[in-house]
C-alpha cells in the first residue's frame, strides 16, 4: 500500500467494512474485553444502545455502573426512567455514583415513559438516560435513536430478548446472559464487522470487601461444593453451631 493511500485510509472520516467504525465519542466501560469489541472503545455516548436481557439481577447494572460513576463525577446528569425495582442508594454510592445527579423517574404508563426518555435524551445537561420499556414499536425506537444522537446522550434501552429477531433502530445492540459466575455478552449489532463469539465479562470480581479472615462454613465458600447447596436448616451442611443447636432442639421436640 502506498503511503498516500495509507494516509487517506487513516482519515477519521473513512471507515472500512472490515473494522470497527470510529465512534465520535465513546465512554470507556471499565471492562477492557468489552471496550475492545465496542466501536470507539466504549459505550457510544452520543447514541442509543439496546441491551437485551431475560431477567434483572444477572450483573447488567454492574456492567454499566463504572461508566455511570464516571459521568456523574463529571457533573453530568443521569436519568433512570421506569426502573424495574428500587435502585438502592448505598450500593450506588459504593460504586462511586454521585447520587445528587441520578434522577429517578416514575411513570404511570408506557407513553409517559417514552416521553420522559425522549426528553432526557434531548436534554443537554443529561449525560446518560436509561429506560426500561416493556414494549416500544420500531418507529418510536427510531425517534429515540435520533433523540440520543441529537441530544448527545448515552441512551440505554433495556429490553427482553424476544425482540432480538427484529431489526434494531439503535446502532448498538447487546444481549446479556448469566454465565457460570460471569456475564456473557453477545454483540448482536454494531457499526463495523460482526462479533461471532460471546464475551465473558467478569463483573463479579470479588463479592465482598470483608476481611479475608472471615471463615465461612465449607458449604458457603464460593463454589466450594461440587453440588449446589440447598439452604435447608435440617441438612447436615451446617450453619455453624447455632444451627446445629437449633436442629438438636427440634429433634428433641420431635
Amino acid at each position: 500500500m502506498t503511503p498516500a493511500l495509507a494516509a487517506l485510509l487513516s482519515h477519521p472520516a473513512i471507515w472500512r467494512g472490515d473494522d470497527c467504525a470510529p465512534e465520535p465519542a465513546a465512554l470507556p466501560t471499565g471492562f477492557a474485553a468489552l471496550d475492545a469489541v465496542l466501536p470507539g472503545g466504549g459505550w457510544p455516548s452520543h447514541a442509543l444502545t439496546e441491551v437485551l436481557l431475560a431477567r434483572e439481577g444477572i450483573g447488567e447494572m454492574r456492567l454499566v455502573l463504572p461508566a455511570l460513576a464516571r459521568l456523574t463525577r463529571e457533573r453530568r446528569q443521569v436519568a433512570w426512567i421506569a426502573p424495574p425495582y428500587r435502585p438502592y442508594a448505598p450500593a450506588l454510592a459504593a460504586a462511586g455514583v454521585d447520587l445528587a445527579r441520578l434522577v429517578l423517574v416514575r411513570c404511570r404508563d408506557a407513553a409517559e415513559a417514552l416521553w420522559a426518555f425522549d426528553q432526557a435524551l434531548r436534554a443537554p445537561e443529561c449525560g446518560a438516560a436509561f429506560a426500561w420499556l416493556a414494549e416500544a414499536d420500531e418507529r418510536k425506537l427510531h425517534r429515540l435513536a435520533v433523540a440520543a444522537r441529537e441530544g448527545r446522550t448515552l441512551g440505554v434501552l433495556w429490553r427482553r430478548p424476544g425482540v432480538a429477531a427484529r431489526a434494531a433502530a439503535a446502532p448498538l445492540r447487546l444481549a446479556l446472559d448469566a454465565g457460570d459466575g460471569a456475564l456473557a455478552v453477545r454483540v448482536l449489532k454494531r457499526r463495523g464487522g460482526e462479533v461471532a463469539q460471546a464475551l465473558r465479562i467478569d463483573v463479579a470480581r470479588r463479592w465482598s470487601t470483608l476481611p479475608d479472615g472471615v471463615a465461612l462454613p465449607p458449604a458457603f465458600a464460593p463454589r466450594a461444593p461440587s453440588r449446589p447447596v440447598r439452604p435447608d436448616p435440617r441438612s447436615s451442611a451446617g450453619y455453624g453451631q447455632a444451627q446445629a443447636r437449633a436442629a438438636r432442639v427440634r429433634r428433641a421436640a420431635n
Binding site: R55, E56, G57, I58, G59, E60, M61, R62, L65, Q77, A79, P83, P84, Y85, R86, P87, Y88, A89, P90, A91, L92, A93, A94, A95, L99, A100, L102, V103, L104, V105, R106, C107, E112, W115, A116, Q119, A120, A123, A178, G179, W207, S208, T209, L210, L216, F220, P222, R223, P228, V229, R230, P231, D232, P233, Y239, A242, Q243, A246, A247, R250
Partner: protein, 488 residues
C-alpha cells in the same frame, strides 16, 4: 441625569383588558365608577366605536351598546399594577419611583449597559406594552419636565441644555401643580410654563406660594429634585381578575403569562430566583358556593432557582394542563412560596457566544408533566436496616443523605425489592448456591422496626445473583428465607 416618565392613560381599563387574549379584546368593555348613578371611567376601542365616551352615565352607555361588558373600577388593582410596572422599571435602573399616576426613572447611569437611549427606551416602553398597558413616555433632564412632556404627547424628548426654554410652550396644567394657583394664573392669562417662569419671583411666590416657585425651579433643573426610590415588595403576590369567565386551560395560559412576566421582573429587581410557586385559580362566586373550595390550587417547585419567564411559563403551562377545572375561572393569583438568591449572569465577551440559552432544565420539564413526586433522587441514610438505609428526596432539595461509616463494606445489591419476598417454595424446589455470608443485621428493637436477619449473596438456578436473608426475628434459627434484592 436623564429621566424618563411613563404615563398610563387607560390604566383603569388595562388592569382588566390585559387578561384577555387579543381576539377576545375586540368585544366592547367599559369600566365604571360606583355610586347611585355610576359613570363610565374608561372604555375600550370597541365601546368607543359604539359611541361610548368617558364620563358618560353607565345607563347611557348601556343604551348605546346593550351587549357591552361592564366591570367596576378597581383602584387597588390599579395601584398594584403601578407597583408592578415600577418593579419592571427597576430592572432597567435602580432609581425608579412613583409620582402619583406616573412612574419616573433616572436612566442616565444605565444607558451604556442597554446600548443607548433608543434601545433602552424601546425595550422599557415595549415591555410595558407587552404587559398589556397603554403607555406614553417623555424624556427630559428633570423628572417634572419628563412627566409634563409625557402628558403633552407620546415620545417627546428634551435634550440637555436650556430646559426652561424647551419647556416654555408646555401648558402649566401638565406639571401637576396646585389647582388654586393654576386658576389664579389662568385668570391673569398665564397658561404656559414659559409665561409663568417669566413672572417676577417675589410676586409669584406671594400669590401662588413658595412651593409653586420651587416646583418651577425643579422642573427647569435650577433646583435639585430628589426622589424616594421605589422598593419592590418583599413578597411577590399578584392577582389578575378576568373580565369574562374562562373555561379552558389554554385561554388561562395567556393570563398566567402576564403574571409570570411581572414575577420575572420582580425577581430580577430583587436579585432573586424562585424555587416554589403557588397558583390559585378562583372560581365565580355563585358557583364557588357549590364547590368544596372557592379556589383551585396548584403548587410547583423548581429544581434550581430561576427567573426566566420562558422557563417559568413552560413549567406552569405543563402544570396547568394537568389541572382539572371544576368550574370556570374568574381570577388567578400567583405568589412565591420560596425564593433563593440568584446572581446575575455574565454576558459573553464575544458576540454569539450565548451558549446558555433559556433552556428549561430536564428535571423541571419532567416534574411539570409527570407530577412532583414522579421525579426523585435517592440518598443513603445512616441505618443498618437495608430498607431504611435509603431515603427519597426531591431534586434541588439539597439533601445529601447520611451514609453509614465507610468501614462497613459488605455487598449491597443495586436493586432492592419494595418488600422482602418469601422464598419458601422457590428455594425448596431448586437449589440456590450461597456465594457469601452470612452478614448478621440486627437492629431497630427500639422503634418497632425490629430486624434480626442473616444476609447471604446467593445465585439462583436461573443465574440471578440475589441478596437473600433468613429471618431470625422470632428468636429461633430456622426462620423463613426471603429475597430482598438483586445484584443487577
Amino acid at each position: 441625569m436623564r429621566w424618563i416618565a411613563l404615563l398610563f392613560p387607560s390604566l383603569p381599563l388595562d388592569v382588566f383588558a390585559r387578561a384577555l387574549r387579543p381576539g377576545d379584546a375586540r368585544a366592547p368593555l367599559v369600566v365604571h365608577g360606583d355610586g347611585r348613578a355610576p359613570r363610565v371611567v374608561a372604555a375600550n376601542a370597541a365601546a368607543r366605536e359604539a359611541g361610548i365616551r368617558d364620563g358618560m352615565p353607565l345607563a347611557a352607555a348601556l343604551a348605546l351598546c346593550p351587549g357591552v361588558a361592564q366591570v367596576a373600577r378597581d383602584v387597588a388593582a390599579e395601584d398594584a399594577a403601578l407597583a408592578q410596572l415600577a418593579t419592571f422599571a427597576l430592572t432597567f435602573t435602580p432609581a425608579a419611583s412613583l409620582a402619583e399616576d406616573a412612574i419616573v426613572a433616572d436612566i442616565g447611569p444605565s444607558l451604556r449597559l442597554f446600548g443607548g437611549e433608543e434601545k433602552l427606551v424601546a425595550s422599557l416602553v415595549g415591555g410595558v406594552r407587552e404587559r398589556g398597558f397603554a403607555v406614553r413616555s417623555g424624556l427630559a433632564p428633570t423628572p417634572l419636565a419628563a412627566v409634563a412632556l409625557a402628558r403633552s404627547g407620546d415620545g417627546r424628548r428634551i435634550d440637555d441644555g436650556d430646559v426652561a426654554a424647551a419647556l416654555a410652550p408646555l401648558p402649566l396644567a401638565h406639571f401637576g401643580l396646585d389647582a388654586d394657583a393654576l386658576a389664579t394664573l389662568a385668570a391673569a392669562g398665564v397658561r404656559t410654563f414659559g409665561a409663568a417662569d417669566r413672572l417676577p419671583r417675589g410676586g409669584l411666590a406671594r400669590r401662588c406660594g413658595r412651593a409653586f416657585v420651587a416646583a418651577l425651579d425643579r422642573a427647569a433643573g435650577r433646583a435639585s429634585d430628589p426622589r424616594v426610590p421605589f422598593l419592590p415588595p418583599p413578597q411577590f403576590a399578584a392577582k389578575l381578575e378576568l373580565p369574562a369567565n374562562v373555561h379552558d386551560v389554554a385561554a388561562l395560559a395567556f393570563a398566567v403569562n402576564r403574571l409570570v412576566q411581572e414575577l420575572a421582573s420582580w425577581l430580577l429587581a430583587r436579585g432573586l430566583g424562585v424555587t416554589e410557586l403557588a397558583l390559585a385559580l378562583s372560581h365565580e362566586r355563585a358557583l364557588a358556593r357549590s364547590l368544596d373550595s372557592p379556589c383551585t390550587h396548584a403548587r410547583f417547585a423548581l429544581a434550581a432557582p430561576s427567573r426566566t419567564s420562558a422557563h417559568l411559563m413552560h413549567v406552569l403551562r405543563e402544570r396547568l394542563a394537568r389541572v382539572a377545572l371544576p368550574a370556570p375561572v374568574a381570577g388567578i393569583a400567583l405568589a412565591t412560596e420560596a425564593v433563593a438568591p440568584l446572581a446575575g449572569r455574565n454576558h459573553a465577551l464575544l458576540p454569539g457566544g450565548e451558549a446558555d440559552a433559556p433552556e428549561v432544565p430536564l428535571v423541571d420539564r419532567l416534574r411539570a408533566r409527570l407530577g412532583d413526586d414522579a421525579v426523585r433522587l435517592v440518598v443513603p441514610h445512616a441505618d443498618h436496616r437495608p430498607e431504611r438505609a435509603m431515603r427519597a428526596s426531591s431534586p434541588g432539595g439539597g439533601a445529601t443523605g447520611t451514609p453509614l461509616p465507610a468501614a462497613i463494606e459488605a455487598p449491597r445489591p443495586v436493586w432492592l425489592l419494595r418488600e422482602p419476598r418469601p422464598l419458601a417454595g422457590l428455594i425448596e424446589a431448586q437449589p440456590w448456591v450461597l456465594r457469601e455470608g452470612p452478614e448478621r443485621i440486627e437492629s431497630g428493637w427500639w422503634d418497632g422496626g425490629d430486624v434480626r436477619r442473616d444476609y447471604f449473596v446467593a445465585e439462583s438456578p436461573s443465574g440471578e445473583v440475589a441478596w437473600i436473608f433468613r429471618d431470625h426475628r422470632r428468636g429461633t434459627d430456622d426462620g423463613e428465607w426471603f429475597l430482598h434484592g438483586l445484584f443487577g
